[in-house]
Amino acid sequence: MKQENILEVKNLKVKFPVAGGILLRKVAEVKAVDGVSLELRRGETLGLVGESGCGKSTIGKAVINILKFSSPDVDISGEVWLKTEEGEVNLLSLSRNEMRKYRGQIQMIFQDPYSSLNSRMTVGQIIEEPLLYHTKMNKDERNERVAWLLEKVGLQAEQSKRYPHEFSGGQRQRIGIARALSTNPKIIIADEPVSALDVSIQAQVINLMQELQKEFDLSIVFIAHDLSVVEHISSRIAVMYLGNIAESGPGSDIYHKPIHPYSKALLSAVPLPNPKLKNKERIILTGDVPTPMNKPSGCGFRTRCPIAKPECADSVPVLELKLPDHYAACPYVSGN
């Protein structure tokens, strides 16, 4: 059953200028995201995978419109449509002030649980901050909500008076989750929320996110580079390579029978827990990822692709429907 889209990203392009020379003129640009279209359906988890530097985190930050704050020179184009009760709104067309109205509905969980919490504020102050901006709750109501949220994420209400440095990494990430949930958002962008945690803690945090997703009816964009984590949590997966989407489709489909040559190579690298299962063939790619400052013409993957043809240099491949609800950006492969 196909749910309606709650968030649609259309042809998103993010370019960072590279300044050089004495006058700091723009000498080159990094195409971190190069024409990405995504859709997030209500109640689902969209996993966004790819190796470091492929632009997955940039997409998350562009969607939530905080890229311009930390790097004002960035060049963003495309559209991000958020479905709200009053209709659809293109977040990228809004100024920072206009955007504030919608921030309660779309929140972010950050990768580093150490730097994403202000060490001068108590946990209670951290969690209640979004409530100050988006609700008209008074002090008692806010305290009650903070206590309730802390218990929801598996901490104790009394811990709201403590400071972040008194918590472990996993606990801090729980605080980050509580903060993101405080305004009852519809969408959560989770930017590698578990990659900074121990494996045993990763499982706890991911299970917590799944429970909360059901309870709060969340739609999650889950950004990660760990494929087994993504497969566990995602209903759909999009595989990225060098600022483009190589393949997207239902989670188990992509995990078990990938179509695109890059996804195949990526998935063959996932370690198997059972040493007796050695039937999987390991595909080893040659060369390195090209720098996004100087991308190859046509298909970005052609320099390392085992099935590359001379025509691959001519045009950028578009996502084609290969199987039901399963797209791949390569004209030379098929779903069967």
Binding site: F69, M108, L117, N118, R120
Partner: protein
């Protein structure tokens, strides 16, 4: 178990941790206590060191000259013009041997009081039992001048430091937060401003205007705020790129909330670390200006002015020796404080906690 959970509930802020660490650095901590006690004491100096009596009982009535000015006629003191001389009054009352009495401060000499009538030698006179540090070339008591000079020196440098840091922090955070063109042009303006030679401007200004406390604080502030902008600007650049600021933006915090609630508390480390050293530097510049004669107007008690007298009467060692030792001890203990603060704020110890 209950004991342990109670202990855990006592939560410490980063500041409390640093304060604890500061307290454990004995040299700096004791210097801090001594300087603070001395400074507070220096505000109560009129009760301990001064020419005005604390209490006078005269013909059944009580007078409080420390708080109020009384003419000599009030006590029928015929030899004295203007304000009553309470030391003479005390002697008179003693001789008369009646109900009248005078309670003087412990050290009954004021900083600006001319003692030519009482001195038996030509000033500057040697230290003796009455004037512990001797008198200067106008017959004023050196110890009283040193003590009052301490208060003025520290107050002056505290005011200048706080003012120039306020300006420096505000401008620095503006440059660091807004970045881009604001930053580039702002920094160039600061660089141009820093090239103005402070001493020459001060000499020119004090030859046109009469230097006073206000003018001096104004000029020193005007030339003292630039250094802090560099550090605060750098801190803001660094903190701005960290995730908790991005998180604040994604929550919908406005610029003022981000600056004051999130970044500024995390950007104050260099400000606090440099504060004691800036106070030292400002005490020193006041002494230097006073020494050169461009400082506070006479007869304000000041260390620099004593030193310049000492230079003119080089054989009178107490004129140059006492202010030098006083300055040395003051600057040394404030430097100890600064050293301890710097160590308490050293991020290496707490890098795991950040």
């Amino acid at each position: 178990m209950s004991d342990k959970s109670k202990e855990e509930k006592v939560s410490t802020t980063l500041f409390q941790k640093r304060w604890k660490k500061f307290k454990s650095l004995k040299r700096g901590y004791y210097s801090f206590i001594i300087v603070v006690i001395f400074y507070i004491f220096s505000f109560l100096l009129p009760f301990f060191v001064g020419r005005d009596a604390l209490i006078v009982k005269y013909e059944g009535e009580y007078y409080f000259p420390v708080f109020k000015f009384y003419l000599a006629e009030t006590f029928r003191q015929k030899e004295v013009q203007g304000e009553a001389n309470y030391r003479m009054l005390k002697e008179q009352f003693k001789q008369q041997d009646n109900d009248n009495w005078v309670l003087m401060p412990v050290y009954p000499y004021g900083p600006n009081e001319n003692l030519l009538d009482e001195l038996t030698e030509i000033p500057p006179t040697h230290p003796n039992n009455v004037h512990f540090f001797g008198t200067d070339d106008r017959g004023r008591d050196v110890l009283a001048r040193l003590l009052y000079g301490f208060n003025i020196g520290i107050s002056f440098s505290l005011i200048v430091t706080i003012l120039s840091y306020t300006i420096g922090v505000s401008i620095g955070s503006m440059l660091g937060f807004f970045g881009g063109k604001v930053d580039i042009f702002g920094q160039r303006l600061i660089e141009i401003w820093s090239t103005l030679p402070f001493l020459y401007v001060m000499i020119i200004l004090s030859s046109i205007l009469n230097p006073n406390f206000l003018l001096l604080t104004f000029v020193l502030t005007l030339f003292g705020w630039m250094g802090m902008t560099y550090y605060v600007r750098g801190e803001f650049y660094r903190e701005k790129a960290r995730d908790y600021v991005s998180a604040a933006v994604s929550m919908g915090a406005g610029n003022s909330k981000i600056i004051f609630k999130h970044i500024l508390p995390n950007a104050l480390t260099p400000v606090i670390t440099f504060l004691p050293f800036a106070i030292v530097a400002n005490i020193f510049s006041l002494v230097a200006l006073d020494y050169l004669g461009f400082g506070l107007p006479p007869p304000t008690p000041s260390w620099g002015q004593l030193m310049s007298q000492g230079m003119q009467n080089i054989e009178k060692w107490w004129l140059i020796g006492t202010p030098l030792i006083a300055m040395f001890l003051t600057l040394l203990s404030i430097t100890f404080i600064g050293e301890a603060i710097r160590e308490a704020f050293d991020p290496k110890v707490y890098s795991r906690l950040r």
